[in-house]
């Protein structure tokens, strides 16, 4: 059940260029969390909340988020210290449904700030005995994060950078192209990346996680809709998503 929850900040550290890992604690929330869900975080003095994916959940009530300090709100968030309080609507959205996903071969395809939700997802998929291949893309060497964390559970982990300054040079799709033998892919990243991915592997079962500017974060304001294939059809990313079967929605 989604709730308005108070979190205590346990740790904040910069893990890549302008990219912060923050661990926050609230014991009530974690029992509910599915991978792919997000926190809708209140930053004091800002009108709108910031949606940030859940990147990990630990048994002791700790949720990890990873965010890039881009604009004013996330920059403010990056200054939080241990012991500070954070208010968030949590957990938001539907998340990835993986109950029946066992003994399969999975490809995770993440780009930039789309990488975090795949971490918790991959961890759980591995626990359910799937083979996990991770492809994560970043702009440049300084932006790379969580490579080790993904390696810890992935059977294979490929890092790509746009400029080739670290790992493979190119886009995640360049790597995905070469992988033939898998059952399902899960992808999260900017719209252009998702579009490239879904077009490349349109025959495969795939789930994508979308981003859009949000108001309420709970499905009430219609800010975050995405058209579906039906006429006048739409889904709300904050509530019906952010995860959708790749073929269900029409990417802009």
């Amino acid at each position: 059940m989604v709730m308005v929850a108070d979190f205590t900040v346990e740790r904040v550290r910069e893990i890549a260029l302008d990219t912060y890992e923050m661990k926050v604690k609230n014991e009530e929330v974690i029992n509910q969390v599915k991978p792919g869900q997000f926190l809708h975080i209140q930053v004091p003095n800002f009108t709108l909340r910031r949606p940030i994916s859940i990147a990990d959940v630990e048994e002791d009530g700790i949720i990890t988020i990873i965010f890039k300090a881009l604009g004013e709100g996330t920059t403010e968030l990056s200054t939080y210290k241990q012991g500070d309080h954070l208010q968030a609507i949590a957990p938001c959205g539907n998340g990835f449904s993986i109950e029946n996903k066992k003994d399969d071969t999975i490809v995770l395809v993440g780009g930039g700030v789309g990488v975090p939700p795949l971490h918790y997802l991959g961890k759980l998929l591995k626990r359910q005995n799937n083979k996990v291949i991770t492809i994560i893309g970043f702009q440049t060497k300084e932006s790379v994060f969580y490579e080790e964390e993904f390696r810890a559970f992935s059977d294979e982990t490929i890092v790509v950078t746009d400029d080739g300054s670290y790992g493979e040079k190119g886009f995640v799709t360049d790597i995905l192209k070469q992988i033939k033998d898998y059952d399902t892919y899960y992808s999260c990243g900017p719209f252009p990346m998702l579009k490239a991915v879904t077009q490349l592997v349109s025959g495969k079962e795939g789930f994508i996680s979308l981003e859009e500017r949000m108001g309420c974060g709970v499905g009430a304001c219609f800010a975050c809709v995405i058209p579906t294939n039906e006429e006048n059809g739409y889904k709300k990313i904050c509530q019906d998503g952010p995860v959708f079967p790749a073929q269900e929605v029409v990417l802009p």
């Binding site: 009108t47 909340r49 309420c216 709970v218 499905g219 009430a220 219609f222 006048n232 739409y234």
Partner: protein, 302 residues
């Protein structure tokens, strides 16, 4: 303390209601608290048919406010009556249907349809939506057009009609008196101010629709001014809105001349805002020397 207010068609147990478009049809917020706590609920705009609305992005943040250009997305009046009204009827509160359209005929149709159905206590006539025009003239900024659509909707329905005024006008008083003369039972004010933000990276407006409606604390001084200006010129009640964030803001609106208030954008910041305001209102009224809500209405004019 007595928080009750009696308005045409609306016996409110307290003067707090969520503003139209900021609360959907209540389902989502019913996860956070009992909607029966609310004085009333203003539903999301209803049009004749299903509307998809504008492309995204539809919202942007501004200093102490936000822009939105949802574009009246809604499942259409029939579907709303079939699925949303029955859900909301479970709660011990009152329903106000926000009606909109592209033509006067569409307004009329929506009003008629709500009139035939059960469960709705009043209509809120949204003439302030910038993309609703006839013959190129916006209903919301032209007194004659506003009066015309008010008259037609009044004739089509037995429900009391509250006309929602746009702040994007040179003369708010003439808008208010025009719709009062046309039969409006009440006013709701204000809707959003038209605004825009540009994204410095893309060099384009952030909102796909380019312009959006500015709401939130930033516009509160404009709302208070307009209500204060209109109040002495009308004898119908005003439901006030625009940047309400706490019970002190509510009292400011009451003093300015509102008989009840709606909370919009603040729901996004804090989903519990409406019940929290309702709970703190008695103490706020007491602190400033009032013994009831009725007692405070219009007291800024003395």
């Amino acid at each position: 303390m007595n928080l009750a207010v009696d308005l045409p068609g609306l016996k409110l147990k307290n003067p707090i209601m969520p503003a139209s478009g900021c609360f959907g049809f209540g389902r989502e917020y019913s996860q956070f608290y009992d909607l029966g706590k609310l004085g009333a609920i203003m539903m999301k705009a209803a049009t004749g048919d299903t509307r998809y609305g504008n492309p995204t992005p539809r919202v942007a943040e501004t200093a102490s406010g936000m822009l939105n250009a949802i574009g009246l997305q809604n499942p259409g009046v029939d579907e709303i009556i079939r699925t949303e009204v029955p859900f909301l009827e479970q709660y011990d509160t009152q329903l106000i249907a926000n009606i909109s359209g592209s033509t006067v005929d569409e307004y009329e149709y929506v009003a008629k349809t709500f009139n035939q159905a059960q469960g709705v206590s009043a209509l809120e006539l949204n003439i302030s939506c910038p993309n609703v025009k006839e013959g190129g003239v916006q209903f919301g900024t032209n007194p004659e057009m506003a009066a015309e659509v008010t008259r037609r909707v009044k004739a089509a329905s037995n429900l009391p009609v509250y006309v929602k005024l746009s702040p994007n006008v040179s003369d708010i008083v003439s808008m208010a008196t025009a719709v009062e003369a046309a039969g409006a039972d009440g006013l709701t004010m204000i809707n959003t101010l038209v605004g825009m933000r540009l994204d410095l990276n893309t060099r384009r407006p952030i909102i796909a629709n380019k312009t959006g409606g500015l709401s939130g604390a930033a516009i509160k001084p404009v709302a208070i001014r307009m209500i204060y200006e209109v109040k002495p010129h009308v004898s119908i009640p005003i439901i006030g809105m625009g940047g309400i964030n706490d019970s002190e803001d509510v009292l400011e609106f009451l003093l300015a001349g509102a008989s009840a208030v709606a909370v919009g954008t603040a729901n996004f910041q804090n989903p519990l805002i409406c019940p929290q305001i309702i709970d703190s209102l008695p103490e706020t009224l007491t602190r400033y020397g009032f013994t009831s809500v009725e007692d405070a209405i219009g007291k800024g004019h003395e």
